[in-house]
Symmetry: C2
């Protein structure tokens, strides 16, 4: 199998763990956060910069790359790694989340989903088979099964329908997948209904995936409810396979996720916040664009040692953002990813030392003190 | 004097020359092209990137920094170098070009210029004294005298009036300047009228500036006329002081300018073209965003060895630009500045070898063959 996973440390009390995820493009320490490179670029950054802030595994997007520039161009370019000049591992999502988010623009059948492009309104069709075909053309290290992510809130009936379809589609994904050097992850759905989570987990786990994702969370539900669902779902996932919590990237949720035995995360939050002029600090979020920072000559986060905090003031970064200068959002993006990836490093260290609960308490107290 | 200049090579036939421009922030080889960092950032780039593509001396903008973030904040930050994290030399223009370009929004008197901000319409007043005060607060290595740049075309009478005012203002600039570690350059005006160029040059050169700029060219006149004006004006400038041709940055004009004895250039062209999706190549300009490049897997310029050409295809760069990704204009900017700064290096080499005319002919033939 192209993808393998080794658990290297496992806490005696609690589910937190350390692991090594082996891929054709290198081995990654887990728990890991994946910066998102939606359109074959982590927004505003070069691959070298992503690496330098600690990025080791990135996520890219089947739906977006299918529409633009098209998976055939990526294949002709030698695959996504070569196309975007990233030599580390890449996970591609299946496009399921995007086509279902299009809401009124899409039609769902057992066969698949008909949807309209958000770019030009043209009509397209995704099926499990199509999603796998695109991901094979992209040549990512890890492909995701094509699933239906139910919204929050949603009825029990709809959540059940979506999870059943997700299970049937999962089988179809595996049936057509034939790229040996690419792993495939299954996705557990079931909304916020414990029995549906159990049903979905047992169905998906019965199929031979390289790893298992928990989808359908971080879609608007209260954080406490997400943690509850994790507590309920994780025990149904096999110990020996990586567990990926999709769409999670706020500092508090990463801490709580690691504590609950999650190995992989992705989220646009750090990069999107950065482009809106907001940065993470050890004492919570800071809206750099606010007037209060206009004459502040201190770094974004006085406790941070990233390139930005070593060289620039809040006043300068704010000036750039107010003036519409690209360097402004480059600097906030570098800082935010460094912050999140540094947090992951500290979380791995805390698990290694068996002090994840203490770390959580200390981190949270400070993070909410700002 | 803070700024000194040494001519190290002078062609026997022709005016082209090599020099060393000594500044408080280091020595720069001339002829030199200055990347433009209008708002205390060379658009899309970090200072390290500017350095890595060969930038050694950059230009920043008094008018823009006065309006936003204000020169006092820059002064409080420890000056422009510290504020923007650029440790090499900086030249600031005087704001004259900007306030006169505002057209109907400004009123000119002997005292100075009343103008409205392009940002919020607020009213402001620049005088020679004010322009120097702002540049002293910014702490650039080289400040420019406050001048009036007449448009093209313009009448003989107006050009005369503007150059006379420029001469009187030049004296006022020197009278109030009192920052020992900052050089001040005077600006020769006179439109496209040979006798006015001579008059302006003799008046400005009679004042003790650290260097002399030729302003009022590259403002819409035919290139041949600009070259003619250079041939006419340069002989009136002292051999031992640097000569700066303002606002020039297209490859052909740089070559012709060096040939005519110019030591310094600046222009937004390479960075602005880049943001519009156009790049320089040895065979002329290439509009990367054009559909013809959609599946082109070759580099922007097959003869270029910049970071971009070593790692990315035209197809990828075009994809980024079409998708509105910041990395797209970052890559075209890096390439274009590398191209222009590499051209300057070759021009210095050609002067050193006494082969500038041969270089010009060869370069032009190829550049216009694309």
């Amino acid at each position: 199998m192209a993808i393998s996973f080794t658990v290297t440390n496992k806490l005696k009390n609690g589910r937190a763990r350390l692991g090594l995820l082996h891929t054709p493009h290198g081995t990654v320490e887990t728990p890991v956060f994946m910066p998102v490179g939606t359109q074959a670029t982590v927004k505003t950054m070069t691959p070298e910069e992503v690496w330098n802030v600690g990025g080791r595994l990135i996520l890219s997007n089947t739906y977006h790359l299918y529409l633009r520039p098209g998976q055939e161009l990526v294949r002709e370019s030698g695959g996504l790694h070569r196309f975007m000049n990233w030599s580390g591992p890449i996970l591609t999502d299946s496009g399921g989340f995007q086509v279902f988010s299009l809401g009124p623009l899409r039609k769902v059948s057992e066969e698949g989903v008909t949807f309209r492009s958000h770019i030009d309104g043209s009509e397209h069709f995704f099926s499990p088979e199509k999603a796998m075909e695109i991901q094979m053309a992209l040549g990512s290290d890890i492909a995701m099964a094509f699933d239906e992510c139910a919204p929050y809130p949603c009825s029990y009936e709809y959540a059940l329908e979506a999870l059943d379809r997700t299970s049937r589609w999962a089988e179809r994904c595996l049936a057509v997948h034939r790229l040996e050097e690419q792993g495939v992850f299954g996705i557990v759905q079931g909304g916020v209904f414990p029995d549906l989570r159990k049903k979905s987990a047992s169905e998906i786990v019965s199929l031979n995936f390289s790893g298992y994702a928990i989808g359908g969370l971080s879609v608007g539900e209260p954080k406490e409810l997400m943690y509850e669902m994790l507590d309920y779902t994780v025990p149904f996932l096999p110990e020996e396979k990586p567990r990926y919590l999709m769409g999670v990237g706020s500092p508090d949720c990463l801490v709580e996720g690691v504590l609950r035995g999650i190995d992989m995360f992705d989220c646009v939050l750090p990069t999107r916040l950065a482009r809106n002029g907001t940065v993470f600090t050890r004492r919570g979020k800071l809206v750099v664009r606010n007037a209060g920072n206009a004459r502040d000559l201190t770094p974004l986060d006085p406790e941070c040692s990233c390139y930005v905090c070593r060289n620039y003031s809040r006043a300068y970064v704010r000036h750039l953002i107010k003036a519409g200068e690209v360097l402004g959002i480059r600097l906030t993006t570098i800082h935010n990813l460094y912050f999140i990836l540094g947090l992951m490093k500290e979380l791995r260290e805390a698990v290694r030392e068996g002090k994840i609960v203490e770390y959580r308490d200390k981190f949270m107290e400070k993070y909410h003190s700002g």
